[in-house]
């Protein structure tokens, strides 16, 4: 994969002569055929060498590892936040359909699909940082700095989880064993906690993995807006500056990460859901 645009145009002085440009080209291997560049790169990538950034003159692996903790921190915080709100809300709304809490749950479910996350991020800064001065505007200095970006990043996934949980609970409640439990005279609280919740949470496992990778994608916006020094801002910079080796490296890294995570959720799913285990 080689992007349009030419790194020479950005890296070299605007009044450079053709000779100087050629020297740059040769120094970075851009004079070789595209196929050769790509195959060489792929070969190195398999060996764990993701090449060197044009712009920052550093190994890409080093750059990615530098930025990875920040992105993980943000994505995990957003994931935790969405679970923390989605699980109780989804269950309650499923157990009490039509209640005010159910309405709230449906609204949150829709919010995730109707408010663009970058838009929400800016409104959060305007209201909570500039006007109310409750949280810092940007950066990654303290736990307070995590709050606004995590909220902005979590909303889309949160909505999806609430919707999923709500319908899972509705479905479980119709199952025979729940009716049996009721017939046995168990209290609604016990039924909800012991029987409904564990079964309704099973489909959530597969969604959590998908959500996490989606958050890695969403972090491109959110990190840029909150000046969060993670992979998202690194990717955005690399694209803006035509730093092809770095774009390739980040892409390959995220792909490998996503595939690994997918496998992990599949395994977890198999462990948790007895039906899946039989298959």
């Amino acid at each position: 994969m080689r992007l349009t645009g030419d790194p020479v145009g950005l890296m070299v002085a605007r009044n450079a002569t053709p000779e100087q440009r050629e020297a740059f080209r040769v120094a970075h291997g851009f004079d070789r055929p595209l196929a050769e560049q790509f195959l060489g790169y792929l070969g190195n990538a398999l060996g764990g060498d993701l090449g060197k950034s044009l712009r920052l003159h550093l190994p890409n692996t080093e750059l990615i590892m530098q930025r990875l903790p920040a992105t993980m921190e943000l994505a995990l915080a957003a994931l935790a936040l969405s679970l923390l709100i989605a699980v109780p809300l989804g269950i309650v709304s499923g157990v009490f359909p039509g209640s005010p809490l159910d309405l709230l749950a449906r609204l949150i479910g829709l919010a995730g699909q109707t408010i663009p996350s970058f838009w929400l991020a800016m409104i959060l800064i305007l209201v909570f940082a500039v006007n109310l001065r409750l949280f810092p505007t940007f950066g990654r200095d303290s736990p307070q700095h995590l709050v606004l970006p995590a909220v902005a990043l979590s909303v889309a996934g949160m909505g999806q989880m609430v919707r999923l949980l709500r319908s899972a609970v509705l479905e479980v409640c119709r199952e025979n064993y729940i009716r049996t439990a009721r017939a046995k005279g168990l209290s609604e609280v016990v039924i909800t906690l012991r029987h409904v919740t564990p079964n309704a949470l099973i489909p959530l496992v597969s969604v959590v993995g998908v959500n996490f990778t989606y958050m890695l994608g969403g972090s491109v916006y959110i990190e840029t807006i909150f000046a969060w020094p993670g992979l998202g801002t690194l990717l955005n910079d690399a694209i803006n500056d035509s730093d092809f080796p770095l774009v390739q490296a980040i892409t390959i890294f995220i792909a490998a990460f996503a595939i690994g995570l997918n496998l992990l959720t599949d395994i977890a799913y198999d462990l948790i859901d007895p039906r899946a285990r039989q298959r």
Binding site: F118, L126, A168, Y214, L216, I239, A258
Partner: protein, 305 residues
């Protein structure tokens, strides 16, 4: 003759299904205010897009720099001719939002059309032919699905550059795996249903089985998925605009207006509030409509939410 017999065995022929689905759908529509609201919102957006030329008071790129950055007509600095104010070029916000419906719907509609065309082809081949073909297609689809969609779109958009057709192609191609997965699953299920097994046994040509028996049975889940993906694409178009990777800045897409007005959020908020509202309301309407369609067209999916 035998073929006709097989057709009669098919329990989910569109005509017969419509006979059941239509009254049920109307019933739900009347009793579910959400569905009704969804239908109203989506119809409004559709009509706006179709009759943009008649509805918009100005052209999308018409305006004078002298009238730039004016607030809504009811505000102190507002101009009576520009109800929702003007942008930094003096272009009418209302008119651009109206024309923007065209661009956003075009991206959503044609993007989904392309994605489903590719997805159905791949999914049917994988599900029906099985074996090596299935393995290969499934591997690619799973790979693409596990990849963060946005990152994929960003990279593809960077490669191709910005214009309307490219944006549609990008969404069409990158979203195809979602459809392929759905179709493959449905086809795998339908292959073992009696009427298909019978048709195969009777030597009905493969193309006829695919077109006559499998495709009609896919319509329900497909239409439902298309609705949801359409609202997602309108969303992602806004996201691409934010990164400067969507249609060129003079094109009045909602995403573009939002991304541009964003720079003026603190001082000229009307430049971004109305396109933002348009995106949110459309996505809201399409989602409500999608919920209704799902219930009507495919009762089986109702529980999956």
């Amino acid at each position: 003759m035998l073929v006709r017999f097989i057709d009669a065995l098919d329990p989910r022929q569109p005509r017969s299904r419509l006979r059941v689905a239509l009254p049920y759908g109307v019933h739900r529509l009347l009793h579910d205010p959400g569905a009704l609201l969804g239908l109203v919102l989506v119809s409004m957006v559709l009509l706006t897009a179709l009759f943009a030329d008649q509805l918009a008071p100005y052209g999308p790129t018409e305006g004078s720099l002298l009238d730039a950055k004016r607030p809504e007509a009811w505000q102190e600095q507002g101009l009576p001719g520009h109800v929702l104010g003007t942008d930094q070029l003096g272009q009418d916000i209302l008119s651009r939002v109206i024309y923007g419906a065209r661009v956003s719907l075009a991206v959503g509609f044609f993007g989904v059309l392309l994605a489903s065309a590719i997805g159905v082809t791949l999914g049917m081949s994988a599900g029906y032919l099985g074996g090596r073909v299935d393995e290969a297609i499934t591997a690619v689809v799973n790979l693409l699905l596990s990849f963060p969609y946005l990152v994929l779109v960003i990279i593809v958009a960077t490669v191709f550059g910005r214009n309307l057709l490219n944006v549609i192609i990008i969404f069409g191609v990158t979203d195809a795996p979602v459809f392929a997965r759905l179709v493959r699953g449905e086809v795998l299920r339908l292959r073992n249903v009696d009427f298909v097994v019978a048709a195969v046994g009777l030597g009905v040509p493969t193309w006829r089985i695919l077109l006559r028996h499998l495709l009609p049975n896919l319509v329900g889940p497909l239409v439902t998925l298309m609705t949801f993906e359409m609202s997602a694409m309108i969303f992602y178009e806004a996201g691409l605009s934010f990164l400067g990777l969507s249609v060129p800045p003079e094109v009045p897409s909602w995403g573009n207006m939002l991304a541009l007005g964003r720079k003026f959020l603190y001082i000229f908020p009307w430049m971004s509030i109305y396109p933002g509202l348009a995106i949110s309301l459309t996505a809201f309407g399409v989602n409500l409509l999608g919920d209704w369609l799902r219930d009507v067209l495919d009762p089986r999916l109702r529980r999956a939410d």
